[in-house]
């Protein structure tokens, strides 16, 4: 018997003695039993999309997360360009920007904007080593989110083709973009969607810039991840989806 079986057989023997609590014989039985006991930590609600935007903005304040509510892609692109213009460098000596290669971000049509600002602009496509190099050289990383959660001002991102994880992590400033039709009220609702989505090897919930309070409980933003985060909520009313 291999080490794996030995370990699990031992656990099987121990768990089987717990007759009171051991009710299932297979994983699916157990999962079914668990789903009969709902445990929502916050009450669910069905607010309007506009309420959600307000809630997201409100919950972002204590996180030091800057939220920009934009009307349409053009407005969003202009907002991003303004952030790039005024933000300063941290690790590098030249402004460069990298963005996820994702349909949402293609709508922004950022390349001409950054060309005007003379900022080299990269997409996360092509050769892996090239993407790595560009990510490390960029002071801003722009990412596309799958869903947002208003109650915790969270963006949820599944890792995948064109959407590597370091874009939201290595550059000093992270800009996350989310069309508001994918904004949810609670984490509970987000989990309900995740449960019915094929999940990749990696996904992440991001709620604000990196921070630490390890020195005398003094809050400092920018521990190891981005020191600054912007969430662009795009309202596409009147735009072709």
């Amino acid at each position: 018997m291999n080490n794996h079986d030995l370990f699990l057989n031992k656990l099987h023997t121990i768990c089987s003695q717990n007759q009171e609590q051991r009710t299932a014989t297979t994983f699916s039985e157990l999962a079914q039993a668990h789903k009969q006991i709902p445990c929502p930590v916050t009450a669910s609600s069905s607010p309007t999309q506009q309420d959600l935007v307000a809630l997201f903005q409100q919950n972002a304040i204590p996180l030091n997360l800057q939220v920009h509510y934009c009307h349409g892609w053009q407005d969003a692109a202009a907002t991003i360009a303004a952030i790039a213009q005024k933000s300063s460098l941290e690790f590098t000596t030249q402004k460069e920007i990298i963005a996820h290669d994702h349909p949402d971000l293609q709508q922004l049509d950022l390349a001409p904007l950054f060309a005007r600002q003379k900022i080299p602009f990269h997409l996360t496509c092509g050769e892996g080593t090239e993407i790595q190099k560009n990510t490390r050289n960029s002071f801003i990383g722009i990412t596309a989110a799958d869903w947002g959660v208003a109650e915790s001002a969270t963006l949820i991102q599944l890792t995948g083709d064109g959407r590597p994880r370091s874009t939201s992590l290595v550059p000093s400033i992270h800009i996350g973009v989310l069309p508001i039709n994918r904004l949810l009220a609670t984490l509970e609702q987000a989990y309900a969607i995740l449960m019915n989505t094929p999940l990749p090897d990696s996904f992440v919930f991001i709620s604000g810039p990196s921070k630490t309070a390890d020195i005398e409980a003094h809050m400092v933003h920018g521990a190891h991840g981005p020191r600054e985060m912007h969430t662009i909520l795009v309202d596409m009313e009147g735009e072709p989806v």
């Binding site: 929502p40 930590v41 892996g128 990696s202 990196s210 005398e216 409980a217 521990a223």
Partner: protein, 492 residues
Amino acid sequence: MSKQSAEASYTDRAHQGLNNPPLQKGLRSIQQGYGQGAMRIWDSLEDPALRKRVKAKRESTLAHLDIVLEELTKNIQQRGGNVFFAPTAKDAVNYVLDIASKKKVQHVVKGKSMTSAEIGIDDALEQAGINVVETDLGEYIIQLNQDTASHIIAPCIHLNREQIGRLFNEKLDIPYTDDPPTLTQEARKALRKQLLSADMGITGCNIACAETGHISLVSNEGNIRMATTMPKIHVALMGMERVAATMDEHASLLQLLTRGAALQKLSTYVSFQGGPSEKGSPDGPEEFHLVIIDNGRSKILGDPDFKEVLSCIRCGACLNICPVYGRIGGHAYNSPYSGPIGAVITPLLQGINNHADLCKGETLCGACREVCPVENDLPRMLSALRHKLAYGDAKWNVTPHDKNEKRFFAFWSRIVRTPKLYHLLIRVSGMLQRPFLDPDNMFSKLPGKIKGWTTTRDLPPIAESSFRHRWQQNRITPPKHVGHNSQEDHHE
């Protein structure tokens, strides 16, 4: 406290904690902020029975742990991840050393993990000539200071900004400053190099999810995401109980964890990893190893008295409310696990006799049970440990901790069951005590083995004439016409 004083006793370490002003200040701030804050969050939950239901699920998962771990393993292996089951700390360490040597690993970056401290992976890697760097800011400070953590979530609350400033000045060769943002920025610069160039990232696991086949890690700093994204190899060390069966169980545990730990709805980052990154990805590990560690946990699982403690999600709320931890700090517990949870789990993992003082040091006041997100009854388990120490226990290899104490109580039990002997003893003691009383008519210095009773307080004397004696002598008569003039008072 530095690693050199590993032999100091619980009492010595507790005294050192009490006499450490930066620690006292840190403890006050964390207890006033986080401990009280967590209580307020639970009190304001819309559904007061929520924690009970979450606990019920958690216990159900633990009762099916074999099935749950098998599902987790299957789902991770399907994505090309490796799962290794380690019966002991040594097995886990050897597995990691083996990967490190096969892959010629030189630099390891770590995310904060108590399990990694429990199995002693840092020392083992360093002995193998591998450079190991802690990347959580608090843990990094502790590592530079050759120190150990004094809180499971906030490892360096025993150091103030001046001490950290001097440490950075000496070890990082930067000008002295005690400004937290500047110090953090210096650590950010120093650690970024390490995080971007390491060959292996080692993390713990906050809560795995069997249904989807992921581990999940919470962090505010982003160091854990770095350590699981940039190096080519990611090794996650997981105590075998740190798993939710389903996503809905995960959802509630995660939210209770971040609320209990730091009053957050969510931590800045919650990252899920369930295998190596897909071929062609520019980042993420090429190899993913999950090491599932028993190291004494299956014995706890098999004991109806203690299996409840495996429900713990290590949020640290019990440390933030405990009156004992709040005075003596974490070093007294001499374990990666401090506070009330440490006082239960450390003896169970490392020997009840070896850590006999821990369960005796706690007061059983019940605050830890009230603040626990999964309502673990730690006071009950502390009492059970005391019981084992008093009477011995073959299953846990416990020998009675203090034979004299046992003899004394056997003697005392005999006396109180024999009234004549008891009354005689009280009368004789009442007479014999006189020379030992101080001018205030109190005991302020008891001799020999019982001197501990009076080191921090005075004891009142035994009454020269006992209540019972006075009653018999009929010296107690009802008071005459006291106070009011109601008729009932005049019944003589």
